[in-house]
């Protein structure tokens, strides 16, 4: 702890020194917030540029900018993609504050594309491997059952794939789904899936936008190897009460937002509830008629602007899945809370203080009312504090620094009988507690018009804390002892330096080359041995027996824009080496197992590949074409005889085509097509028979088992799918306050039977082996009605 405090102080001192040393007396600062004129929503990444010198800054995550310049009268352009640019003449003769409201372009069709702040940001920005999406773009992409879903759209980006068919888990550059840090208003989401993972927990209407970092994760964040998905909730309309909503086949949703008393305080509330269970009686048999299956989501946020220097935000999420079937029940869900305070220490020093809480829990119950009844619970809680500072030293240096601390508490599992007559003893896997800290400092340094550097350093620490019991294992992973630690006793500390570095060289205004290196460290992982996972999977921390996972990623890319920046192209290549990769022994038991650590096997893995992306934003056409070639391998000495094997998320080829075409003022059509090399899987090579009884006439031979050889040695058939949708807007869409639209969509339009599972089945010794393919979702049509007012 002392060490961390020291580092905090050091960073503070360095920053002040740099600030003092570099400070020039002959500059004045223009600062303020940039908003959407129609609803007061703060714009992230809007640009403020002095036209004469072509120097500028972008707004931060809270819509704040600060631009310093030598005295003089300059033309200043304030812009954001999809909005009319405002040209202002500013006399830099004193420090001044200026809030700007931008109007959305009246004629723009809704872009379905990954948007960037500046038209040429793709080429200019140092950041690599980042994709940004807005809710209106996400809405345009056809999806399963018409349930607009950010994660399903992310999966269409190069380098990102669904963990399995229809899953809201995703793999980034060959990594595991649990290597993605998913933040909702800075609160980590530990299970982003509803309904066995087929839908994500993110209700699109409640969000302002998202950013996905595929490797070059900013120094301000860490704790996961593969990616950062940063999702931010809307702030709420400050101009008027307004709403958005939709009625779909399986769910309905409604979002309300507006000012409270004055425009200084705004709110957003958003809810969604599915009604799949209403249809169960239609096709279920007698025994299942009383089954219930549903999920719901609730998002809420309140913001208050105290004055130009202080703003507070309070937001939360609550969602739950419920499955009931006679005696058995299962429910699970996330809860998060975020409180934030933005404070301006000066025009140049912006700060944000955040408190977050996150909770994931599940409960299973069975057979209430008789002695067999039981409850099985598991729970994960996170509480965290962070302080982040943006120091807009000059257009040449944008310095970010800060620190964070989080407390994790996990109850991996508790099973108990429900009443006194219970036949079961209580079984409890001991809780574990841990602390995770980090401090960071980074700087975007524009050396000249051509070369920009971004360098940062993150120092992270992870501490295991009592009270708990830790088991010692021998080389055979058998328990040889145990140690019990007292409450709040720190029994293991890991520390790591995580450098992050990036550079952009602008060859000409339309062409740049970029490179980056990042080290990431992961201290918390999900115990799951299947590719898509279940809601019952439990997170576990690094510990004396589990070393933190580490990754080094190198990336080089070429970025080129065409036709007035309406066509963006990029090639990014990456090489990622990961250490202390976690895998599991054969037939590992990951549930309710206090010796979970004995089931783990460790090794290294590596991934490399190239991602090609062409995005276009033409007057009528929108969309992108992405292609990824990649490979991801693991080497775990005790698995597969120590031979390297393909990671379950290895896909050699991955093509995504996402297109939207404006047919007329009211009618637009969208389609996407994906083609992915089949999942690696393990197949049997021979068969054998055990368990019979030669003296039992009914079953003398026993049952047929299949014998296996190498892990993931072959692939399932390649996966491909076409989805399309038509959006028809109401006649008075542009003039009336009520704006309604119908969306008709078809998922898997040509009914491709993509293998979800392949099973080898042989009923007895004399019948032939049958290979069975199980597939999900062919021809899923849907219709939904969306509205806003």
């Amino acid at each position: 702890m002392k060490k961390i405090l020291t580092i905090c102080c050091l960073i503070g001192l360095v920053t002040i020194a740099v600030g003092q040393g570099l400070s020039s007396n002959h500059e004045y600062t223009l600062s303020g917030y940039i908003k959407d004129a129609t609803n007061g929503e703060l714009l992230i990444g809007a640009t403020v540029v002095i036209t004469e010198s072509n120097t500028g800054v972008a707004t931060n995550a809270y819509g704040y900018y600060s631009l310093s310049s030598k005295p003089g009268k300059y033309n200043v352009a304030v812009g954001f993609i999809g909005y009319d640019t405002q040209q202002l003449v500013i006399d830099f003769n004193q420090n001044q504050e200026l809030n700007v409201s931008l109007k959305p372009k009246s004629e723009t069709i809704e872009e379905i594309v990954v948007t960037s702040e500046k038209k040429d940001a793709n080429v200019r920005e140092v950041q690599m491997g980042v994709q940004k999406l807005k809710p209106q773009s996400i809405k345009q992409v056809p999806v399963l059952m018409g349930e607009t879903d950010v994660i399903k759209v992310i999966q269409l980006l190069p380098g990102v794939q669904a963990a399995s068919e229809g899953s809201s888990g995703f793999s980034v550059r060959g990594g595991n789904p649990d290597q993605n840090l998913i933040l909702l208003d800075e609160a980590p989401i530990y299970n982003a899936g509803h309904f066995l993972g087929f839908f994500s927990v993110f209700n699109n209407d409640a969000f302002k936008g998202l950013e996905l970092y595929k490797g070059d994760i900013p120094a301000s964040h860490g704790g996961r190897l593969s990616s950062l998905l940063d999702i931010r909730m809307k702030d709420g309309n400050s101009q008027k009460i307004s709403g958005t909503g939709g009625i779909g086949l399986i769910s309905s949703r409604l979002t309300l937002e507006g000012p409270i008393v004055s425009e200084k305080t705004t709110f957003v509330v958003s809810g969604r509830r599915t009604y799949m269970d209403l249809f169960i009686p239609l096709f279920a048999d007698e025994e299942s008629k009383d089954s219930r299956v549903y999920f719901y989501d609730f998002n809420a946020k309140v913001n208050h602007t105290i004055n130009q220097n202080n703003r507070i935000y309070l937001s939360g999420y609550f969602g739950r899945d419920v499955f009931l079937n006679g005696d058995n029940s299962m429910d699970y869900g996330n809860k998060t809370v975020t409180a934030r305070w933005n404070h301006l220490f000066s025009q140049k020093l912006f700060s944000n203080f955040t408190f977050v809480g996150s909770d994931y829990d599940y409960a299973l119950g069975g057979s209430p009312g008789d002695g067999n009844s039981f409850t099985w619970k598991s729970n994960l809680q996170d509480w965290g504090l962070r302080a982040d500072f943006d120091y807009f030293y000059s257009p040449k240096y944008t310095i970010e620094f800060g620190g964070q601390s989080a407390y994790h508490e996990i109850l991996p599992g508790l099973v108990s009988g429900d009443d006194e007559n219970s036949i079961y003893n209580e079984v409890k896997v001991p809780e574990n507690q841990s602390l995770e800290h980090a401090v960071y400092l980074s700087n975007v340094h524009k050396l000249n018009d051509k070369l920009t550097l971004k360098y940062g350093l993150r120092f992270s620490a992870f501490q295991n804390m009592g009270a708990t019991t830790v088991f010692d294992y021998d080389d055979e992973y058998e328990v040889v002892g145990e140690t019990t630690y007292g409450k709040r006793e720190i029994y293991k500390t890991y520390t790591n330096w995580e450098p992050r570095f990036g550079a952009t060289y602008l060859i000409n205004p339309l062409l740049s080359v970029k490179g980056s290196y990042s080290r990431t460290v992961q201290y918390m992982q999900l115990a799951t041995n299947s590719t898509s996972g279940t809601p019952l999977d439990v997170w576990f921390p690094s510990s004396p027996n589990v070393k933190p996972q580490k990754a080094d990623q190198f990336s080089v890319g070429l970025f080129r824009n065409f036709m007035d920046n309406t066509i963006e192209t990029s090639i990014e290549t990456f090489y990622k080496k990961m250490y202390n990769t976690v895998d599991y022994k054969d037939h590992a038991n990951l549930y309710l197992n206090e010796n979970l650590e004995g089931e783990l096997r460790f090794g290294d893995s590596q991934a490399y590949g190239a991602e090609f992306l062409v995005r276009f934003n033409r007057p009528k056409w929108n969309g992108w074409i992405g292609y990824t070639w990649s490979q991801s391998k693991r080497t775990i000495p005790e698995i597969n005889g120590g031979k390297s094997f393909l990671a379950p998320y290895d896909h050699t080829h991955d093509v995504s085509i996402v297109l939207s075409y404006q047919l007329s003022k009211r009618l637009s059509a969208s389609a996407n097509w994906v083609y992915i090399t089949g999942n690696p899987y393990t197949i049997p090579v021979d068969s054998y028979v055990v368990g019979g009884n030669p003296f039992d006439p009914i079953n003398p031979d026993g049952e047929v088992l299949t014998g296996y050889s190498d892990r993931n040695a072959v692939r399932m058939p390649d996966y491909h799918r076409l989805d399309f949708s038509l959006t028809l807007k109401g006649k008075k869409y542009d003039t009336s306050r009520w704006k309604g639209e119908w969306v008709f969509s078809m998922y898997n339009a040509y009914g491709q039977k993509n293998a979800w599972a392949i099973n080898f089945v042989r009923d007895d010794n004399t019948k032939p082996m049958i290979i069975e393919k199980t597939y999900l979702f062919t021809f899923v049509p849907s219709v939904s009605y969306n509205f806003k007012f």
Binding site: N325, V479, D686, V690, L776
Partner: protein
């Protein structure tokens, strides 16, 4: 090592008949595909391996060890039996050589008065076998301790309306000082209902250690499996005291026997054998306790 498969088994039996699989079945379809479509590469050079399937129990009867070879994945023939092997079992007090059983090739039997003694460790030795066909004879060994088991105090049969099937309830006491593993098998009117390893009930003792076991042994008779229980039927339950190794093997068999999918299933693997030299299968020694119940259908609450 503390396993908790029992709970897993109980819960997943519930879940299997419950909502999750119900839901999956609503949205999934299954069809047969060809080996080419599944990208199965048929390797002609796969070397056959020895498969050992043998049991020594506390019952006084003819015990047996079956030796066979692994077969081609798509073979429709019975698996090749291993003849002319020399098979011995040594319990630390005497070594006996098993005789080939003339009715079933590949089966080697003990004398009819042979029985296992709890507390002894049984060692199997198989010689004069050339599984891989290289012309050289191989030797295989396996060991299994014969664990004790408490008597089954009574058995009861109940009906579960949500599963639409019958469960067998077992009453027994459980020794508190040891970590114990159990297997269960049932028969209706003398016909064995759990006639495969994947149908056995298995559990460890974490949920009941040192207390009275009152357990639905996760054996369910379902009408669709031709197991209908009527008034007056005699349902017999056998409880086996097994080793942790055998439990682990059975656990593996049960994992491999079920439907596999990306949500619930780990990468497949061979159940862990206790036979040396790369052989598959298991040589198990275990004690048997049994009891039965006469079904009283008036007790079923429909």
């Amino acid at each position: 090592m503390n396993f908790s498969q029992s709970i897993y088994k109980v819960v997943f039996t519930s879940v299997r008949f419950g909502v999750l699989f119900g839901l999956l079945s609503l949205i999934s379809c299954t069809e047969e595909i060809s080996p080419e479509d599944a990208n199965v590469q048929r390797d002609k050079d796969i070397v056959p391996k020895l498969v050992v399937d043998g049991r020594v129990t506390t019952d006084t009867t003819t015990h047996w060890v079956r030796l066979s070879l692994t077969a081609d994945l798509f073979s429709t023939q019975k698996v090749p039996a291993v003849l002319d092997a020399v098979v011995t079992i040594d319990d630390g007090y005497e070594e006996i050589e098993l005789e080939p059983y003339d009715q079933v090739p590949g089966v080697y039997v003990t004398p009819a008065d042979y029985y296992g003694v709890p507390g002894r460790t049984y060692s199997l030795l198989v010689r004069n076998v050339d599984a891989d066909g290289d012309g050289e004879m191989e030797e295989y060994r396996a060991q299994s301790e014969l664990k004790r088991v408490n008597p089954v105090d009574s058995v009861d049969v109940g009906y579960n309306k949500h599963w639409g099937g019958w469960t067998v309830l077992l009453y027994a006491s459980e020794p508190g000082e040891t970590e114990d593993f159990y297997g269960f098998s049932t028969s209706i009117n003398g016909k064995v209902a759990t006639n495969a390893y994947s149908k056995w009930g298995i559990t460890d003792d974490r949920l009941f250690n040192g207390s009275t076991i009152r357990l639905p042994v996760a054996v369910v008779f379902l009408p669709e499996e031709d197991h209908v229980v009527k008034d007056g039927d005699i349902v017999e339950l056998e409880m086996y005291g097994i080793t942790e190794d055998f439990f682990t093997f059975l656990w593996g068999v049960q994992r491999e026997a079920g439907f596999k999918n990306p949500m619930f299933s780990a990468p497949p693997a061979n159940p862990k054998s206790n036979v040396s030299n790369g052989a598959l299968g298991f040589f198990a020694a275990y004690s048997v306790a049994r009891n039965h119940a006469v079904v009283d259908a008036s007790k079923f609450k429909k």
